[in-house]
């Protein structure tokens, strides 16, 4: 099998991840639920992972690395924790349902939701955002939410600029890095986002069930969930200290230990080097794919991209093409809507969907060339 659905989850993970999870399953207790050897081992290891994650993202406050089960929970924590009825929020057409659905719920409770719209090539114009945020006749947003890398076209947004524009207008900036963390360098000192949400199981190559958010010092969120933290047990409210403020209940210790191993692996390899390699493969693959008659690749070619590309073959339903790639060529891709309804609407692919190919650290250029060849064969068979 050639697995090219890494934007859904990293199928290939470094061996150290499996080893760390297995060791944790039989070697650690529950963090902050006692001070015996097993519990202290869990606390120390999880603290070390917070430090590694902070270091990877150039973030200076390890205690404000908050672990969640996935990016969706992290985004919900940030969105529900920051917004109040009457607030204005700007979101983008790139955003995933993990951003959109919480916002639609909050709109019913009185937030004002605006969209930064993508053009027919899926591009977001920074000048539109600058103009909107500079327009004093419109409400000042409390929050600008943006997706770092589109989960459909792979296009990458200049989040430093977005953050700078948001701050200049007095708004906070929330970045969804689900598709970029681990495969595109992110430095919080440089981008100055107020909150950055990530998942552990995609580019970071950790286990499923891991993710988190980085909450910049000075930014305060209401907890999404409340419960046991192992500290301040007689207080009725969730502790104010981070990370406990946003982490109720037992943490996923084995998963977090696996994530830590994955992060340390990436620190050794270098995210910049992963990104450069993937950019090279993407360029070759896009060129091969583009030669096939009847192929339409979505999204503009210029600019930076994650290792993701979306396309269709003539008017063939995307699910049918993805199924043929899987059944006849053993190639795993993803068809359909990708939980990105607004981006599909912008690209005009609501009906057909699109086939998405996404690769990662352990895919080879040969595998991508085989995938291009398989699409070519299928295109020729269908005349």
């Amino acid at each position: 099998m050639i697995y090219l659905n890494q934007a859904a989850t990293s199928f290939h993970k470094p061996d150290c991840v499996r080893k760390a999870v297995l060791e944790a399953l039989s070697g650690i207790g529950s963090a902050a639920r006692g001070a015996s050897a097993a519990e202290l081992s869990a606390a120390r290891q999880i603290w070390a992972v917070r430090q590694s994650v902070a270091e990877l993202f150039g973030f200076d406050a390890a205690e404000r690395v908050v672990f969640t089960a996935n990016a969706t929970q992290a985004l919900n924590t940030a969105i529900f924790g920051l917004l109040n009825p009457g607030d204005t929020v700007i979101a983008t057409d790139w955003d995933h349902n993990s951003v959109l659905r919480p916002l639609y719920r909050l709109r019913q409770q009185g937030i004002r939701l605006e969209f930064w719209r993508a053009d027919a090539e899926g591009r977001l114009s920074l000048s539109w955002l600058r103009q909107r945020l500079g327009d004093s006749t419109l409400p000042t947003p409390r929050l600008v939410i943006c997706t770092h890398a589109s989960n459909l076209t792979g296009a990458v947004l200049d989040i430093s600029q977005v953050s700078a524009f948001a701050h200049r207008a007095g708004a906070l900036c929330l970045v969804d890095a689900a598709q970029s963390a681990g495969s595109i360098p992110i430095d919080m000192r440089e981008i100055k986002a107020d909150v950055l949400c990530f998942t552990g199981h995609k580019g970071l190559m950790g286990p499923q069930g891991t993710g988190g958010l980085l909450v910049a010092p000075g930014v305060e969120l209401r907890p999404l969930i409340s419960g046991g933290t192992g500290i301040c047990s007689y207080e009725r409210a969730q502790p104010e200290n981070y990370p406990e403020h946003l982490e109720a209940g037992t943490l996923n210790g084995p998963g977090i230990c696996g994530l830590g191993a994955a992060v340390r692996y990436l620190q050794t390899v270098g995210v910049e080097s992963v990104h450069r390699r993937e950019q090279g493969i993407l360029k070759s693959f896009r060129a091969q794919l583009g030669k096939i008659e009847g192929i339409r690749i979505y999204g503009a070619e210029e600019g930076e991209h994650s290792a993701t590309i979306a396309f269709n073959l003539r008017d063939i339903p995307s699910a049918e093409l993805a199924d043929a790639l899987s059944e006849r060529h053993g190639i795993t891709t993803r068809a359909g809507a990708h939980c990105a309804p607004r981006m599909h609407a912008a690209l005009g692919t609501k009906e057909q969907g699109a086939v998405r190919i996404s690769f990662g650290c352990f895919n080879t250029e040969t595998e991508l060339m085989q995938a291009a060849e398989a699409v070519r064969e299928l295109a020729e068979e269908r005349g």
Partner: protein, 76 residues
């Protein structure tokens, strides 16, 4: 009964940091569950011999501010 020094912290993150700093500077002691008569925001504390306080202060100086210090009598 054995009297020793208990250092409490404002957060679990501080307790973790304190342990790292103490280990790096070879300050004796260990993390223990916070005795119930001491109130702090973290359930962990650092227990050490009373006379080692100066070494602890040097290890934490400018890096971490503990929530408090208390002499405590331990049965074991």
């Amino acid at each position: 009964m054995k009297e020793e020094l208990v250092v409490s912290f404002f957060s679990t993150a501080d307790a973790m940091r304190a342990e790292e700093l103490c280990r790096a500077a070879a300050v004796p002691g260990r993390l223990i569950p916070l005795p119930p008569d001491i109130h702090a925001d973290c359930g962990l504390a650092w227990r050490l011999p009373i006379e080692k306080r100066p070494e602890l202060d040097r290890a934490l100086e400018g890096k971490l501010k503990p929530a408090g210090f208390l002499r405590h009598s331990f049965r074991w």
